[in-house]
């Protein structure tokens, strides 16, 4: 039994926003895989909910816009993202990343938008969306605005989303994914049903001869209180031969991150993972791009 005071099933995005305006204490529920856990734990016991679960037509699905940007409806489930043909063709790394969240049941219920709005550093989509420089389109009674993901995370579990706002699109700009290949490593204690001890996502654009790193994007989950880009490491490997870049990126990334010790893992251990896994992620990303390494 879940201790829920009320649930309003929104009929449209506008209706959901109206419902949120009407109840300043209401929370949005989509797939429910985060909210229901908190209700059960008692943290959200007795809460009022506005459900957007039925808004699939407006908020679900992946499309490629005419300009080439990839637009992901936030209500698309992890499974939906992982198996979507546009994702598989244009940004397979994102599908591979979300396919590592939880287990099959969770991936059939949990949504990529929920993963983003929850603001958790260990979210499996977060580091890849960070590396892809996603843009988050949110709608409020005052209209829409777009937030680059680099400015989205405001602290542990906090994102740049007001009470009356709803995430309506996750946009991957064409320039950020075209020509790149990527690799995500979820380092966790188990091969499934786990949260990341460290998430590493690396995108790379290779030179025409597949020997040099033209551009690299490196982002982490759990290397700090919020998902983060490792811009110093990216700069450090730009223009390097791939083998050298692989050897150097991990050490460079140590300057960008600031993980903390918790009972789940020590700072020293997470730093070791940052150093080791950055290189491994870059190597795999480069391989996928055709590099012989």
């Amino acid at each position: 039994m879940y201790d829920i005071a009320s649930i309003y099933q929104a009929r449209s995005v506008a209706d959901a926003i109206r419902a949120l305006q009407a109840d300043p204490s209401a929370l949005v529920i989509a797939g429910g895989t985060d909210v229901l856990i908190k209700v059960r734990e008692g943290k959200l016991a007795g809460c009022s909910l506005v459900s957007i679960h039925g808004l699939g037509e407006e908020l679900s699905g992946v499309t490629q816009a005419s300009g080439g940007d990839i637009e992901i409806g936030p209500l698309t489930t992890f499974r939906g993202v992982a198996f979507d043909p546009v994702i598989r063709r244009c940004i397979p790394v994102l599908g591979e990343a979300v396919d590592q969240a939880g287990g099959p049941q969770l991936r059939a219920a949990g949504t990529i938008g929920g993963n983003v709005c929850n603001g958790i550093t260990s979210a499996d989509s977060a580091s890849t969306l960070m590396a892809l420089g996603a843009v988050l389109r949110v709608r409020s009674p005052r209209g829409e605005r777009e937030v680059p993901i680099a400015q989205w995370y405001k602290g542990v579990g906090k994102v740049d989303l007001a009470h009356e706002e709803l995430l309506v699109k996750i946009v991957i700009p064409r320039a950020n994914c075209e020509g790149y290949t990527g690799h995500y490593i979820k380092y966790a204690m188990r091969s499934a049903m786990d949260i990341a001890t460290l998430g590493v996502s690396c995108l790379v654009k290779l030179s025409a001869d597949k020997r040099t790193v033209e551009e690299a994007r490196l982002a982490f989950g759990v290397a700090g209180p919020v998902p983060m880009r490792a811009c110093g490491a990216e700069a450090a490997v730009r223009g390097l031969p791939i083998g050298e870049a692989v050897g150097r990126i991990g050490r460079a990334a140590l300057e960008d991150v600031h993980p903390r010790s918790s009972w789940r893992a020590s700072k020293e251990f997470r730093l070791q993972l940052v150093e080791e896994l950055s290189g491994r992620a870059l190597r795999e990303a480069a391989r996928k791009g055709g590099a012989q390494i």
């Binding site: 188990r190 080791e276 896994l277």
Partner: protein, 767 residues
């Protein structure tokens, strides 16, 4: 032959179709719901409680606190009651306790119309505490001046025992002399194991209601007859006024060999006027408030002669008992006994065991009962000695193994049969031990491979430490089939299936004609102490065999009345046959109809016997593992793993294999990832849920291989020996030893988590 057939489980179809009924399926939908209030300190006293706001909440039926409970301390472990007061279990808790001993201790309970109301009521209870600092290790608890966690034990030591085997005539006066003797290779080591939990699928759940002036408790337990006794003791009422019903259960692994919440449930029912009350532990409560495996630290020593023979060993085990005695000193005592057994000391052996109260969640029985802990210490030690002395670890173990006919000098348990050496040989061949040992020498690079092994022995049941008794009843049906009634319990291990096979074998009929009554109802089921200590196929098996043979005699006696002219008779298949020719003379169906409805001589053929078993025997086995270690990220991947077991004759080989798979899985989690972690400041359990407690998933498992060496044990009812617990024992040390082989790094603390490995690799200069 019915014994030895790999028949399908008798409960398979009901379980896979969801038709099998568990406690929660049976609970009336209008039952009241009870929830327990848990303390927010780990050590101290409840000074006062304000329940007015909770009582005022609509839908709340009762709010009861630690100030309301009967002044009765009662014992909780699932041991047979001892008629000797000195051997009785420690009675150290009340239904709810003012003295807070663990973070989350049970201090009050609410009975309400539904779960949400009960939860909301708990939120409204105000508690005032007197708080002491939490004491989370045995060392801290034994320090001078620490307030006692139980006033009966001022030094927090529940028990401390020392034992030494008699020395053969020699110049040595004691084990210490041998261990100090410079003529021998002298070894010492320190090994530690962690606190882990069973993680059975079904959390402890029960409901209780009054009927006819008695209390009926339906519960998910391994030990219904013991639950009846303990509920009677805890409430201070005659045991016959309690009736316990045990339906199918979703696993136990020892956690439900303890009387957990049934007494509180029964008392809440009484206080709620006898209405049906359900009390279900959540997964978080199961982690914190039910039992687990003891963390034990071992300091061991050994003296080995130049030929590689163990001259003497010693073992000091310190077991962290947490806040309540549970099974008391039995587990630490079993751990040092198990450390002594498996191998033979030529001269001497000394054991010392401490069981110490702390403010940890209290451990209790868990698959292996101290042996997964001591076997880790023992098999790490054997590996480390072999390495130090340049001996082959396989040969070193092989030549020191317990010989057939071995009699433990302290408890008299005898090695009636052993396939230990054959198990080792089989495992060695399966893994290509010799080839891989050689191939994986002198590796370099970040990813390395290695092989490791471990050997164990395990007793069968609890004689002579405790009583072994079991009863069975067989009743003829009107169609010539039989019903088998037992107090022994099916807890997912396949007990009902092998009991049916044994019954069929003893009578001479097909297993398909045995209808087993799976539910134990203490008003109806014969007495048996229940599922634990890998005892049921052995002890209950004896009861079934004896009862089946008596039942068979009764069938033949009645058949003789109907066939006065026939020669010697026998029961075969579904018929009474001529013993010599095998010719069918009378079907059992016809015999049954005649026996029930004869106008000449009507008799309902039944048999019932008690078997009081006063023997024990050792089962054996080993684990061989090949692993790959990713050094920079501290990850171990198990490439191949095999357990080889001598559990005597297998009653059902397919089920035996499944039992081994389950145990190996448990061993893998114990080796690599599982550990209950406490907050050092507060004593709060940090990871008491299935996300943060790293039970391995299906994807984390390699293919599990199970092999057997079948001996025929003369003391077993059908040549069989223990199998339930053993598969979980040797996996962790085998993997640790493979890690040592792969990297040269000895990690002596479980579990072998990536962070621990990375720290060790860094310390040893590999990173």
């Amino acid at each position: 032959m019915e014994v030895g057939r790999s028949i399908q489980r008798v409960d398979a179809v009901d379980k896979v179709t969801g038709r099998a009924q568990y406690t929660d399926d049976l609970c009336p939908r209008n039952a009241l719901v009870a929830k327990v209030l848990h303390s927010t300190i780990a050590n101290g006293w409840v000074k006062s409680m304000d329940t007015a706001a909770a009582e005022a909440l609509p839908g709340v039926v009762k709010v009861l606190t630690c100030f309301d409970v009967p002044e009765i301390q009662y014992p909780t472990p699932g041991h047979p009651w001892s008629v000797e007061p000195a051997h009785q279990d420690v009675a150290d808790r009340k239904l709810l306790n003012r003295r807070v001993r663990i973070y989350g201790d049970d201090i009050a309970a609410v009975v309400a119309v539904d779960e949400i109301t009960a939860r909301r009521a708990l939120e409204r209870i105000r508690v005032e505490y007197e708080e002491y600092p939490p004491v989370l290790t045995p060392q801290a608890a034994m320090a001078p001046g620490v307030p006692p966690i139980h006033e009966e034990h001022p030094d927090n030591i529940l028990k401390h025992t020392v034992s030494e085997i008699p020395l053969p005539p020699s110049d040595f006066r004691c084990a210490g002399d041998v261990l100090d003797c410079p003529a021998y290779h002298r070894f010492s080591g320190h090994y530690e194991t962690q606190q882990v939990q069973h993680c059975h699928i079904e959390n402890p759940t029960s409901y209780a209601y009054r009927e006819g002036g008695r209390i009926v408790v339906v519960t998910s337990t391994q030990i219904p007859h013991i639950v009846r006794r303990v509920v009677g003791q805890a409430l201070g009422i005659p045991w016959g006024r309690v009736r316990v019903v045990k339906p199918y259960i979703g696993g136990g692994f020892g956690n439900k060999q303890e009387v957990l919440y049934e007494p509180l449930n029964a008392w809440l029912c009484v206080e709620a006027g006898g209405r049906c009350v359900k009390l279900e532990a959540s997964r978080e409560e199961t982690f914190r408030n039910t039992r687990s495996r003891h963390p034990i630290s071992f300091d061991v020593r050994a003296a080995v002669d130049g030929d590689g023979y163990l001259m003497a060993r010693s073992c000091v085990a310190v077991s962290d008992q947490g806040g309540y005695a549970s099974h008391g000193h039995a587990i630490a005592a079993n751990a040092v006994t198990g450390f002594r057994q498996t191998y033979l000391d030529q001269l001497a052996h000394r054991s010392e065991a401490y069981t110490v109260y702390t403010n940890r969640p209290a451990p209790g029985a868990m698959r292996g009962y101290g042996i997964p802990q001591c076997n880790f210490a023992l098999e790490c030690m054997m590996e480390d000695i072999a390495r130090e002395m340049g001996l082959d670890p396989y040969e070193f173990r092989y030549q020191n193994l317990m010989p057939p006919g071995y009699v433990d000098p302290l408890n008299g348990i005898t090695c009636h049969s052993t396939g230990a050496r054959e198990c080792m040989e089989k495992g060695r061949r399966f893994l290509d031990w010799d080839g891989l040992r050689a191939r994986y020498q002198n590796q370099t690079g970040p990813v390395r491979r290695g092989v490791g092994m471990a050997v164990f022995s395990y007793k069968t049941g609890v004689h002579p430490i405790s009583l072994e008794t079991s009863s069975a009843r067989i009743v003829l049906n009107q169609d010539g089939t039989v019903q088998l009634q037992l107090g022994a319990t099916e807890i997912g291990q396949g007990g009902d299936t092998v009991f049916s096979q044994m019954c069929a074998q003893a009578i001479g009929i097909p297993t398909e004609d045995v209808h087993i009554v799976s539910t134990q109802d203490t008003d109806i089921a014969p007495f048996d102490t229940g599922a634990y200590a890998s005892r049921q196929t052995y002890v209950t098996g004896h009861a079934i065999r004896r009862t089946g043979e008596r039942f068979r005699e009764k069938l033949l006696r009645y058949a003789r009345e109907l066939l006065p002219e026939a020669g010697e008779l026998d029961v075969r298949g579904r018929d009474i046959v001529d013993a010599r020719s095998g010719e069918s003379l009378l079907s059992l169906a016809d015999l049954a109809l005649e026996a029930f409805y004869s106008l000449e001589h009507s008799v309902h053929i039944t048999a019932e016997c008690t078997s009081h078993v006063k023997d024990n025997t050792f089962s054996f086995g080993c684990c061989f593992a090949e692993i790959e270690v990713d050094i920079p990220v501290g990850k171990i991947r198990v490439l191949r793993i095999v357990n080889v077991h001598d559990s005597g004759t297998l009653i059902n080989p397919k089920l035996a294999e499944a039992q081994v798979h389950g145990g190996m899985s448990m061993g893998l989690g114990y080796a690599l990832s599982e550990e209950m972690k406490l907050d050092e400041k507060t004593g709060r359990l940090l990871n008491g849920n299935l996300l943060d407690y790293k039970l391995p998933t299906a994807l984390d498992h390699p293919e599990l291989h199970a092999l057997f060496v079948e001996t025929e044990d003369p003391s077993g009812p059908f040549g069989n020996k223990s199998l339930g617990e053993p598969p979980a024992i040797p996996v962790a040390p085998a993997i640790r030893n493979a890690l040592l082989h792969a990297t040269g790094v000895a990690v002596n603390t479980l579990p072998l988590t990536p962070q621990r490995l990375v720290d060790a690799f860094r310390k040893e200069g590999l990173l």
